[in-house]
Amino acid sequence: MPIGIIFFLGGCSGPQSSLDPAGPSALAIAGLWWGMFGFFTLVLVAVTALWLYAMWRKPKSYTEGQTRRIYHQWIVGGGLILPIITIAVLIGFGIPLGYRMLPLPMEEPPLRIDVTGHQWWWEVRYPESGAVAKNELHLPAGVPVDIHVTSSDVIHSFWVPRLAGKIDMIPGHINILRIQADAPGRFRGQCAEFCGKGHARMVLAVEAHTPEAFKAWLEAHQHE
């Protein structure tokens, strides 16, 4: 399939690529993608091939009864069994997987970071230490972090594709997204909900530090 070739030619890496995961949530989703991609490519190829074969093969005569048997087989097999099994497998895998990404209560509550969306910048606050930052998010690597998001004006969406999926930042509501970076490094985040003229430029620089470096960063930025 051409799409496959492009994938390998173009590569899947990139500072904002969901196919270059650097955290557990993004990794799980990327795995989900590759699984679905493989299976659905098979389905697409099979259906197309059947269709083309049905058009180009030599026509045969069928009795009324044979016709009925054929279409019952097709419809039950392709229209009922195939989708039902697919759906069951997808839901069976996907929903628990999504459930584990939710900010479920933990024995030791993770670090909380408050991020507020503005047209068109990110306000980042560390409520425990009082540190503040603008358009950059620093977090410790290797541990889960809870990002509490909201907005001061229109709807934005918090998204760092290499770490996790996105969550909307909605005025009047607070949403929580749990993210984790497996190792220290720099990642790129970008607003994912159209928020007006500056939407394309609403970029968030994310950096994961070793615990010591993170502590040092927090201390250095406490009174900004």
Partner: protein, 838 residues
């Protein structure tokens, strides 16, 4: 009924044209005939497709390379907003409706749709609404908040100026046309099939259109309500979506997607209907599994209303809801799979022949299946969190809409082209057109999946280099230009065929359905005589049908009475019950649409005195329209029919008007339920919802007002019941009495409102109650006006024992009015008491 008429074809044709003929020149604006209106819809929709496509090309040019500055962000935002809006509201829905308006009566063996003036009115609303909306682009103040218009971005603070108003008012205006076509199609399909055509003899296309039309009836009202509320927030400061004053911006998203998801299937179903119509013709056998397909189409209609939340997985909704909507969204794969495999089995057991439309059907299959599969992926919540609002979704959606809608539409266009023009398209150009479009499309959008996975969000006017997005974007842009060439080739082919195409003869594809039994191109009356067969493939069973129809050898060939007539049949069996007489050409639809567009413009420029005048004029025109009906001298003053024939519909109790009223009230009810949903939603979810200390309305006078209304309705029902029993003594007096009761009820309601402590600009609570009161007054007021007119018509002799149908048409309106009164009463008076609050 079945013997030959004893006249030759030409003489019959002339006689029919004297009654059915279309005027030319300026008077062409008075045409109400479905063939003419259908073609207008399709041509206008085609023009908007080109405009929308041009916008797409501009955007692809801007995105071809990183950091380009060809198009400024402000213009880019306008372009993607308008591209989506134009393609959805100005192209896809109208062109599919136009096709349905054109084809459905012909497939059903009817002479026209049942509300011809409504077809014309719908077209003019669509045309004027579109022109108003497009003018904003020319003026440089086009809407720029996205076609989904999320608040707060679209409210008066973040979208100052009239740009968002253009969207809200223009689109609502256009939706009038969609809903009226919806109502008209439902009633026509159920009530005007030719003698003996039972529901299960109906061509599959009509089943698809029936379900689509019902989906429009239920699906558009939530958006109409949402648009009205948002416009009220913007212009009158009523804070439905303002979180600080007790509203919630998420309510808009619910209302929008309650419409927006069914909308996708409203667009897909008619296109799938084209596939189900063409495929058996080219497979040279009847479609297999007819009943399975019908069930699948109905199931699609139902399921599509249960999965709007999958557009909102990223807003942080409860996990149980996510699992539910995830599952519901995937369930749609079952009815779709059934259709695909039924098509496959039809090909498999048939003897396929190759013509150009088949090429587009193969293209459709591949692209649509791919789009459906990515759709199943998107329904999976965790994956959705990652790719939502990225170019992956743009790619998916174009696979579904371009592949699932445009490809079948072009297949259908080629298939029915000889029907429109009497000529055949060229094979060679058509093949070029297909391959360029197919290759171009896949180049653009297959790659775009990757762009999205690489993290590129939607709706960005540019992107920096070095993120891995450069190459895929360039490829997508190149693909876009190839697609444009393919579409140009198709257009060229169509333009040339009018001159160079070889004559099509009759039934060039050897099709089975009745639209090919008309003349090609068709005359305004469709059929001189109406073929009456309880069979699914009339033209396969009776290859000479076209000739015998034109010779007047089938049913209802009389025209001496000068009425436009078609059969009115039983909704299920298709047995003839009455003769429906249809109104002729009229200026009223054009004038009424014109008056409404003045209203629309005056609201845009906030000149409310002019708006009031426009409302008055529109009302007078619409009432005049309803006046020319039934036994009116310009309608059917003479009730004589041939011996042995059923009566004229206006002399019965069960007319298409009644069906039209009931279907309209279903749409109205969907709007009211959306409002109720908004009330309960805000009550339970809005973060700063405020309930006043004391009840804002005095409940006692409200109760009396409701009692007056209830008595009025009981009297009205009694009047109609007596009429059914053949008693019409004091009819006029009763109607006047009911009107007075209704008027007292309205007066009381206004008094309660004036006396209330409601401040609709202060809290969402008061704003919603105000809208409920407005809604009630609108319905009660109109009920009174209609009843007064009926009393007047009784005096004129247009309504009475001999012509009772109009009174039966108004009855459901009264009934609906009293139902919403008590439901509103329960919602705004009883609920707060039960809640233990105010």
């Amino acid at each position: 009924m079945n013997e030959s008429h004893g006249k030759d074809r030409a003489a019959l044709h002339d006689e029919f044209m004297a009654v059915w003929g279309n005027p030319s020149g300026w008077r062409a604006l008075t045409i109400v005939n479905h063939t003419a209106i259908g073609i207008r819809f399709m041509v206008t929709g085609g023009v908007f497709f080109l405009i929308g496509g041009l916008m797409a090309m501009l955007m692809r040019t801007q995105l071809a390379l990183p950091e380009q500055t060809l198009i400024a962000p402000k213009l880019y935002d306008q372009l993607f907003t308008m591209h989506g809006t134009v393609m959805m509201f100005l192209f896809a829905v109208p062109i599919l409706e136009g096709m349905a308006l054109y084809l459905v009566p012909k497939m059903l063996g009817a002479r026209d749709l049942l509300f011809p003036r409504l077809s014309a009115f719908g077209y003019f609303c669509y045309l004027f609404g579109s022109l108003i909306l497009m003018s904003s682009l020319v003026l440089g103040i086009a809407p720029a908040a996205g076609w989904f218009m999320y608040t707060p971005l679209s409210n008066a603070v973040y979208s100052p100026g009239p740009s968002a108003d253009f969207w809200l008012l223009g689109v609502t205006f256009i939706e009038i046309s969609a809903v009226s076509a919806g109502v008209e199609l439902v009633v026509s399909i159920l009530r005007s099939r030719t003698s003996g055509m039972g529901l299960l003899h109906m061509p599959l296309y009509c089943w698809y259109i029936l379900v689509m039309a019902l989906m429009i009836v239920f699906g558009f009202p939530p958006l109409i309500l949402g648009s009205i509320l948002l416009e009220l927030e913007r212009s009158a400061g009523m804070p439905f979506f303002d979180v600080a004053r007790g509203g919630d911006s998420i309510l808009w998203q619910h209302l929008f997607w309650l419409f927006g998801h069914p909308e996708v299937y409203i667009i897909f179903l008619p296109a799938a209907g084209i596939v189900s119509t063409l495929l058996p013709v080219f497979a040279r056998r009847s479609i297999v599994a007819y009943q399975w397909i019908v069930l699948a189409v109905i199931a699609t209609g139902f399921i599509s209303f249960g999965l709007w939340v999958h557009h909102m997985f990223a807003i942080g909704i409860p996990k149980l809801a996510q699992a539910f909507f995830s599952m519901a969204s995937m369930l749609i794969a079952i009815p779709t799979g059934i259709q695909i495999f039924a098509w496959l089995a039809t090909l498999w057991t048939g003897r396929p022949v190759y013509h150009v439309p088949m090429l587009w059907l193969v293209g459709f299959l591949i692209i649509f299946v791919a789009g459906g599969l990515t759709g199943v992926m998107l329904a999976l919540v965790p994956f959705n969190w990652q790719v939502h609002d990225t170019h992956f979704v743009v790619a998916h959606m174009h696979y579904v809409l371009f592949g699932g809608m445009l490809f079948p539409v072009i297949a259908g266009l080629y298939y029915w082209l000889p029907h429109f023009s009497g000529r055949m398209p060229s094979d060679k150009l058509a093949r070029w057109g297909f391959w360029l479009t197919f290759i171009g499309f896949n180049t653009t959008f297959l790659v775009m999946h990757l762009t999205g996975l690489l993290g590129m969000p939607r709706r960005v006017y540019t992107y920096p280099a070095g993120l891995g997005w450069d190459l895929p974007n360039s490829l997508s842009s190149i693909g876009g230009f190839i697609t444009a060439m393919g579409i140009a080739m198709v257009l060229l082919d169509i333009a040339l065929h009018f001159r160079f195409g070889r004559p099509a003869g009759t039934n060039p594809w050897q099709a089975d359905t009745l639209e090919w039994a008309t003349d090609i191109p068709p005359e305004p009356y469709n059929f001189i005589s109406l073929p009456a067969y309880p069979m699914r493939h009339p033209l396969w069973d009776q290859p000479d049908l076209q000739a015998t129809v034109a010779e007047g050898r089938h049913t209802l060939p009389e025209i001496e009475h000068g009425r436009r007539e078609t059969w009115g049949s039983d909704a299920v069996t298709g047995r003839v019950r009455d003769i429906i007489h249809l109104p002729g050409n009229s200026w009223l639809p054009f004038y009424a649409a014109l008056a409404l567009s003045v209203l629309c413009i005056s609201l845009l420029i906030r000149t409310y005195s002019l708006a009031l005048v426009a409302v008055g004029v529109s009302l007078v025109l619409l009432l005049r329209w309803s006046w020319i009906n039934g036994a009116h001298p310009l309608a059917a003053p003479d009730a004589e029919v041939m011996p042995g024939y059923p009566p004229l519909h206006s002399r019965t109790f069960d007319s298409p008007g009644l069906w039209g009223m009931v279907v309209t009230l279903l749409a109205d009810g969907a709007l009211f339920l959306s409002l109720l949903f908004g009330w309960l939603y805000l009550w339970t979810v809005a973060p700063h919802w405020q309930v006043p200390e004391t009840a804002p309305l005095a409940w006692m006078p409200l109760l009396i007002s409701g009692a007056l209304l209830t008595v009025a309705v009981i009297c009205y029902i009694r009047v109609v019941q007596r009429l059914r029993e053949g008693l019409d003594s004091h009819l006029r007096g009763w109607l006047w009495g009911i009107s007075v009761l209704g008027l007292l009820h309205c007066g009381m309601l206004i008094w309660v409102w004036a006396d209330s402590t409601l401040v609709p600009t202060q809290t969402a609570h008061d704003a919603v109650i105000s809208v409920m009161l407005m809604n009630q007054l609108f319905h009660s007021g109109l009920a009174v006006i209609m009843t007064v007119l009926q009393a007047w018509r009784v005096a004129c002799g247009y309504v009475g024992k001999a012509a009772p149908y109009e009174l039966a048409v108004v009855e459901p309106w009264w009934f609906y009015t009293v139902v919403i009164f008590w439901v509103s009463f329960a919602a705004i008076v009883l609920l707060p008491i039960a809640w233990g609050g105010a």
